[in-house]
Subunit: 327 residues, 2 copies
């Protein structure tokens, strides 16, 4: 057996952890890292934002479409985005990984490299401070992210006011197009994945495929928005319209988008963009990452060019998951 | 269809969350609860201990041996124990739950009730501040716990000194006996579970079965140990000897147990007790929950009555998991 082909079942939990710890990104804000009952994270201003997400083989990713590296990158990036969407800076992650015993150590190392590179690229100083490794018939990641506010007030979903401008940082619609391309070209009706077609999709549509498999949410834009006086913000994970409706409902206002500024229907309803959607006072100086896409209006719900837009949008892991369709 | 028999696939993610939020315990230390991109937890002294654990159907529990209530209770209790083992007080949990679409809403509500009752009984004031719900072919829980030190210094594994006394809070060996009883009596060779035998095991061995399925780690003993000057501490999850070896290695000492004080072989090597194992200066006044079981000695590793004890102990989720055996 080649050492690089060893499985995590063969070498066991302890040896697998010893292989991945050196790869994982380290945190600037920890006084005690992995290896004790807990890690200890410092929280300078006494308030810690915390968010958790599951990423499950099947509904959240397919092995073959995603490499281990991509799975680690996306699990990291999407949790960083939830911290950024509060106006906070991500500081620390804990990661639970469950995988079959037959999983190669190399695959798990690739996941760790994805975490390292995503944290380094998107939120330097944020690291993995602890975790758990277990045995399951499919690959599952459970990521919890912590952050710090460092002098800004948290930006929730409920502070939007009539007359605010609505702005977005990061592309919209690419992740949906990437998923459609991958499902159309690389997944057969029986659910099997064609690796050549995946490589061709990367080559022909690199921006869209990367947005789906290896997203780069604008993490620094979250804190920049808070510093610029954002009144409400969230991470666009379920599609712009559905997520905007969450701000509208929490704030008791309507949000009216300009279609020409948003782009197209994919940008309005496609999920997994992990853009930052924020509302700002009319006189705020918007951070460079943001572009204006609409305004906060009286009423409720979401409008596009002044007309109520009631497409369902979003994604339910139970109702909407199919092994062979991206819809 | 009776409303109580509805499945989470039928009612979807949003409606399921709406059913369980009112059941979950609430945290005294949150300024923003579930429903935004993050929850916000207050950390008075600027240091937050964080721990995460996966509980997976199969290696960690069997539906039929455990009810939903037991699964929630144990997932909560074991994470609280990791916070307590630092000398900290648990303040907040985030919970990821994945389950098949055919899971009943009632089962998920029972999990939430288990969290509620465990947090209320073991760590009043600690609550669930956020989470995620997703779709998987088996039930998986990912729990992350946060805490606060509130005037004590963190107790790690590395501070034990020669001459310290070694003490334990909480029973040892019961959880292992409970698991053996359940596997011997309630699981057939084909892996199927006999619900009548489970009920009979509860009736005939309530202490051992409860220790396995619904453990009550001595959470307050963790902080009490820190206040009493504990030099090292951990939560006994993999068996007393294996966990004591972790303190011995981290501290560069040996630990010598008195068998008469520990009890028997199950107490030395059985896992999942979630007792607190701590070292104290000889002149410390031990908190009432602790009993002396040995001493810190020169050398390395673990001894029992002065003789090196090298049983492997512990449990590896890959090497040691079998569908039909508790070993």
């Amino acid at each position: 057996m080649n050492a690089t082909d060893a499985t995590i079942g063969e070498i066991g939990e302890g040896a697998t952890l010893a292989r991945i710890f050196p790869i994982l990104p380290s945190s600037r804000r920890t006084t005690l890292g992995p290896g004790d009952d807990c890690a200890i994270v410092t929280v300078p201003d006494g308030r810690v934002p915390v968010t958790t997400d599951l990423m499950i083989e099947g509904p959240d990713f397919r092995i073959g479409l995603s490499r281990g590296y991509d799975i680690g990158w996306k699990a990291c990036a999407t949790n960083l985005a939830d911290i950024a969407a509060m106006g906070a800076t991500p500081t620390a992650l804990v990661v639970g990984l469950a995988a079959p015993a037959a999983t190669t150590v190399r695959f798990v190392e690739d996941i760790a490299r994805g975490f390292h590179d995503a944290a380094t690229a998107l939120a330097p100083g944020c690291g993995v401070v602890g975790g758990d490794l277990s045995n399951a018939p499919l690959v599952m990641l459970a990521v919890t992210a912590l952050g710090e506010f460092d002098g800004v007030e948290p930006v929730t979903r409920s502070g939007a006011s009539i007359g605010n401008v609505v702005a977005v940082a990061g592309p919209l619609g690419n992740a949906k197009r990437g998923l459609d391309i991958l499902f159309d070209r690389a997944i057969s009706p029986d659910g099997s994945i064609d690796p050549v077609a995946v490589a061709e999709a990367w080559a022909s549509h690199p921006v869209d495929v990367a947005a789906q498999l290896r997203p780069e949410p604008p993490i620094a834009a979250g804190r920049a928005a808070a510093l610029a006086g954002a009144t409400a913000m969230l991470d666009v994970s379920d599609g712009l319209v559905l997520d905007a409706r969450r701000i509208a409902t929490a704030s008791g206002v309507a949000i009216d988008f300009d279609l020409s500024a948003v782009g197209d229907i994919d940008a309005l309803t496609g999920g997994e963009d992990h853009a930052m959607l924020a509302c700002f006072p009319l006189n705020a100086k918007l951070p460079a990452e943001f572009r204006v896409v609409g305004r906060v209006a009286p009423g409720d719900g979401v409008m596009v060019d002044g007309v109520p837009f009631d497409s369902r949008g979003g994604w339910d892991p139970f109702a909407d998951y199919s092994a062979t369709s991206s819809q």
